[in-house]
Symmetry: C2
Subunit: 276 residues, 2 copies
Amino acid sequence: MPTLPPAHPGALRATPTLPKRRLRAHAGPAAAPRLPGPPRRGSPAPRPPVTGPVAPVLAAPCRFSACPKKWPSARPCWGSPSPRGCSQLTADHPWSKMMVSCDQAQLMANLVKLIKAKKVIEIGVFTGYNTLNMALVLPDNGRVIACDINEDYVKIGKPLWKEAGVEHKIDLRIKPAIQTLDELLASGEAESFDFAFIDADKESCNEYYEKCLRLIKKGGIIAIDNVLWGGKVLKPRKDDLATQSIHHLNEKLLRDARVNISMLPMGDGVTLAFKL
Amino acid sequence: MPTLPPAHPGALRATPTLPKRRLRAHAGPAAAPRLPGPPRRGSPAPRPPVTGPVAPVLAAPCRFSACPKKWPSARPCWGSPSPRGCSQLTADHPWSKMMVSCDQAQLMANLVKLIKAKKVIEIGVFTGYNTLNMALVLPDNGRVIACDINEDYVKIGKPLWKEAGVEHKIDLRIKPAIQTLDELLASGEAESFDFAFIDADKESCNEYYEKCLRLIKKGGIIAIDNVLWGGKVLKPRKDDLATQSIHHLNEKLLRDARVNISMLPMGDGVTLAFKL
């Protein structure tokens, strides 16, 4: 439970004032959508309006049941039109809950941008929402190695990669992810990646982590999804290999001197491991 | 509520195996404390054991009521001995709930280290737990401008700044924070800071944010604490200036094209604003 601190006197200014004009301006029932502001000098030209398959999807209210915000259509999920469209296209899929939540995707993009990442690994693509989300903040010569074995799911969101103009940044590898990671290591790409996102079969999460740790540079980040696993990690059943595996990795990360960690209680829990 | 995704088939390897030996090794009831591992080449010499006032405090179980983890003594709050000691010394203070949670402090240190910050602003020092926590990960020529008006609280934790060997990195300014920020701007320090942590009187949070945004470099981070304010931000009372002020800043940040944001549901809510 969040605690409610008392008013903090620590840095109180002599005569606190409230920006009343601005408060009134924001007190209406529906806030305006985020505006991009005037173009900055040297910034890229604004993208043309979206006219592809995502356009009608974006006009409808958010249908994605796992979205914690249940945005009405005026305030859709985070992201530029294409990732939002991808999340909406995923909504009717029977496994739509597997998609990362929009606040997680937002944080991943912010971190990828923060560290000026060029090379990213994604283990578990599903319909490609987070793949697209990360590709959009990479530089034009950036690359996401996107690992999955199921191309049927990827096909749901893949058209939006092209529509968003980032298809050239995504290197989709349809084969077991362990095999792809081994190939990257064999081709001399150890310590060359900036960021990895692990969100696939939980039984292999330790192997994914260990191989990603070799592929990531010092100062890079590995994000591991579903570290709470709906709370099951608190008391894993002996016959539940997936939960055992996540629990084991959580315990190991707590003592792993190769990384610093932060376990964030967003979505189903995501741990950030910062490689030392 | 976190959602429990089904087993992800996306990147399933052909024959998933569980690292059974490791699982058994970690299955005991009490996990060993995190070990630092062998010294690395070029790494600084290990610190000598703590012998100052914090030593007996660290031997006792965690007494900090706001600690979400309630660690027993074998697994104390996050941080090296001195910040842990500082959090314990704060436990008996009537306003101990004002201290940042240990998982928040952990994330702040990880971010400061991640972006290789040299210059940090802290608005609201209280007993100096997070000040110390951030100073420890700054380089030796790094600096925290620590703003507060109440030196009595600072005195509780300040001895540990010296004990931890980071006192020279902390520039404590006992005066209204707005005044300190204005002085920094007047002395030509705009766009020279890497990180700011805002956790003071909520009525002024918008002014703190605006001034910090001028002081922070592009690519820097402003972290704003208590953005959930115990849930009160959902329906601020008209006579509650503190809640109105946080609510206003939350709404403004949602549309602020000068930053990207991530609102994290840890502690009482912390928003990270990444300056563009």
